[in-house]
């Protein structure tokens, strides 16, 4: 059982606050992804869980045990780094066995040259080697065991780094953007390999990425971070359809969600969309908007550009009255919209998400309150 409970973690570097009151609990065997823009504190949080960094405030429990004072070695966590962090002077085999060597052999048994003659060393070394070879065969790096990291491709290095993390069967896997140095094709392949690995070993995974596609496809739940705060933790579908925060809605989904300021909308539309008094922004997904004739619509604009991407066509429409530009997703069977044409846009009220001035979601209980007068 390895749950992770993070309670009110704070971290500052000098004057800048990097993590602000972060609380999060990860279930045993869960695949949780931390996603957020660069510099939002994802790596810092991961390093705090690993014990590489100490928080300034807050509590951390792994497997129901307070680990605040534990060194990384005692926490039973493994970590995979973006840059792989393999030992360049050691062979693949020696890299993979290192965590076991450090744990199972005493300092005397690891002593250069002499250690081999200590009682028990050879037996333990043999066991360790067998385990490493088994891990290597799972990852398909068996033929590479005698090579040095410098002689491997990026994908192979990534697998070796995974192997080094797997070999001691940790309760918690921490991965910091493990795929970001790989090319697009390999990234997709490794993505499914990591998912398969997770199913196979059933450990708790905390996975950091700034690629929302990775986050959405791989995880049980996604935690969205921004500027050191956790905005929302939810299943991928829920994050997409039911975001708590405008910033979450904007980050998840491509093309980005359309956000229209309420002051740019006419009263009729506010009523039709049932916008409450405190709504500042109305937002809807590109696939939920339909292009109509200008006369039939409550939202009007001019086509700025049409992007043809094979099956999909993204039509960018500049709204009248300085309300910004929105994107509408249509398919190639629908009529072409050339730049400069005046069009109407229609969105059903049930597809509209309402956010207040602080970018927080206006929930239905409030939505049915006072309508815009």
């Amino acid at each position: 059982m390895a749950t992770i409970e993070i309670l009110g973690i704070e971290k500052r570097y000098g004057d800048t606050s990097v993590l602000k009151n972060v609380s999060l609990s990860v279930e045993d065997g869960e695949f949780l992804t931390l996603v957020g823009p660069s510099g939002c504190g994802k790596s810092t949080l991961l390093r705090i869980i690993a014990g590489l960094e100490a928080p300034d405030a807050g509590a951390l429990r792994i497997a129901d045990r307070d680990v605040a004072k534990d060194r990384p070695k005692q926490r039973n966590v493994a970590m995979v780094f973006q840059s792989y962090a393999l030992y360049p002077h050691l062979t693949v085999l020696d890299n993979i066995v290192m965590p076991l060597r450090m744990r199972r052999l005493t300092a005397a048994q690891r002593f250069p040259l002499l250690g081999r003659w200590m009682p028990g060393t050879r037996r333990i070394e043999r066991e360790i080697r067998a385990e490493a070879e088994q891990v290597a065969s799972i990852l398909g790096v068996e033929p590479l065991l005698a090579r040095k990291p410098g002689q491997l491709s990026g994908g192979q290095r990534q697998r070796v780094a995974l192997g080094r993390a797997m070999v001691r069967q940790p309760a918690v896997f921490l991965m910091d953007e493990p795929l970001s140095n790989l090319d697009a094709k390999l990234r997709v392949q490794m993505r499914s390999e990591i998912m398969a690995l997770h199913r196979q070993i059933g450990a708790t995974f905390v996975y950091v990425t700034h690629d929302q596609a990775e986050a959405m496809t791989m995880s049980d739940r996604v935690a969205v971070m921004m500027e050191g705060e956790l905005l929302q933790v939810a299943a991928p579908e829920q994050l997409y359809s039911d975001p708590d925060d405008l910033r979450v809605a904007e980050m998840i989904g491509s093309p980005q969600i359309n956000a229209v300021p309420v002051h740019a909308l006419n009263r009729q539309l506010c009523l039709a969309w049932q916008l409450s008094q405190d709504t500042a922004v109305a937002a809807f997904r590109p696939e939920n908007a339909i292009i109509t004739r200008p006369a039939d619509a409550m939202l009007n604009g001019t086509v700025a550009v049409s992007e043809h991407l094979g099956a999909d066509v993204f039509v960018h429409v500049r709204l009248d009255g300085d309300a910004g530009t929105i994107v509408i997703r249509t398919d190639r069977t629908s009529p072409r919209h050339t730049a400069g044409t005046a069009v109407g846009v229609s969105v059903e009220g049930r597809h509209v998400l309402r956010f207040d001035a602080k970018k927080k979601r206006c929930r239905p209980s409030q939505d049915h309150g006072a309508l815009v007068a």
């Binding site: 390093r47 690993a50 014990g51 590489l52 060194r71 990384p72 070695k73 966590v77 493994a78 970590m79 780094f81 973006q82 840059s83 962090a85 393999l86 030992y87 360049p88 002077h89 050691l90 290192m98 965590p99 450090m102 744990r103 300092a107 690891r110 250069p112 040095k148 990291p149 410098g150 002689q151 080094r164």
Partner: protein
């Protein structure tokens, strides 16, 4: 442009020409382009080397107008001379003590400096002063500090209740005192190179080592620091070794090879034979031996370097 890089490229640039004619042309052009470098190297490096080797086979004395070739007689005399063997032994002893001393002290200070933040710049400069200071001037300061009656070291010993030592005038301590001065002189240079090497180690490797369970200082040293600064370590060892082999100023200023030849070293011997006794031919033979040793170290280094410390 292609012709610039090497004769072979010149050939391929010539392309359609008959093979042998264009090859000749290309060869000649290649040599022409490398001529400045070849001539400079010849005049500045190989010329003097050749001259020394020739001198070592003669009985020439500085200032004399004639000399004759005497074959290997200088070398025979050299190898029969007990003072030469003593100076060779002293030199090796000096190197064997100074190199590890300098490297270990330099590395320890570098690691300590890198792991602390305060006054880093000041300490770094302070430790580098011995490297920049003129050796003979510093040797005089050391001479004063090691002086049997007025020296600081003996006053400390007196203070602790011991009797004093005539550091530089005692056969048993003179070389040791020179070794300490040698280490003091060289470790700042080693330290600066080590600091540069330490800075180049990615933080991720320390993190990985810590996660893997290598969290003691010794484990971190063995798993991350030493392997990662391997090339720097090798370089520092070779530079220090070559410098230690050419130790001269401190010997000259502080002990003049004494007492009883206990601090006589190769270069001091060379200096004495060539310039005090004006035996140029004999001195040249000594130089050849000296150069042989230094070249051997450098070659050995190149070999180990390629095999052990570059990992890809």
């Amino acid at each position: 442009m292609t012709a610039l890089s090497s004769p072979r490229n010149a050939i391929s640039a010539a392309g359609a020409r008959p093979a042998s004619a264009s090859k000749q042309r290309g060869d000649r052009r290649g040599w022409l382009y490398s001529a400045p470098a070849v001539v400079t190297m010849g005049v500045l490096l190989f010329g003097p080397l050749l001259a020394v080797m020739l001198f070592s086979l003669t009985d020439w004395q500085l200032g004399q107008e004639q000399f004759s070739f005497i074959g290997a007689r200088n070398f025979q005399e050299l190898f029969a001379d007990t003072v030469f063997w003593k100076s060779l032994r002293n030199t090796f002893l000096y190197v064997l003590l100074v190199v590890p001393g300098t490297v270990i002290l330099g590395l320890i200070v570098a690691v300590l400096l890198e792991s602390s933040n305060e006054l880093k710049g000041l300490y770094r400069t302070a430790h580098f002063i011995p490297v920049m200071a003129a050796t003979s001037a510093m040797a005089i300061v050391w001479g004063t500090m090691l002086h049997p009656t007025i020296g600081l070291f003996n006053h400390i010993l007196y203070g602790l209740g011991y009797s004093g030592v005539s550091w530089l005038r005692d056969e048993h301590t003179a070389l040791l005192a020179l070794v300490l001065i040698g280490i003091w002189q060289g470790f700042g240079y080693a330290m600066v190179l080590f600091i540069a090497g330490l800075k180049a180690i990615p933080q991720n490797l320390y993190d990985a080592a810590e996660i893997d369970g290598a969290d003691s200082v010794m484990d971190r040293m063995r798993l991350v620091v030493l392997p990662m600064i391997g090339p720097v370590l090798m370089f520092v060892m070779v530079v220090t070794a070559v410098r230690a082999f050419s130790v001269f100023d401190t010997v000259r200023v502080l002990t003049a090879g004494g007492p009883n030849y206990s601090t006589d070293v190769l270069l001091y011997r060379l200096n004495t034979e060539s310039f005090d006794y004006l035996r140029t031919g004999y001195g040249a033979a000594l130089t050849v031996v000296f150069l042989g040793i230094v070249i051997a170290i450098t070659l050995l280094q190149a070999k180990i370097m390629d095999r052990r410390v570059h990992y890809s």
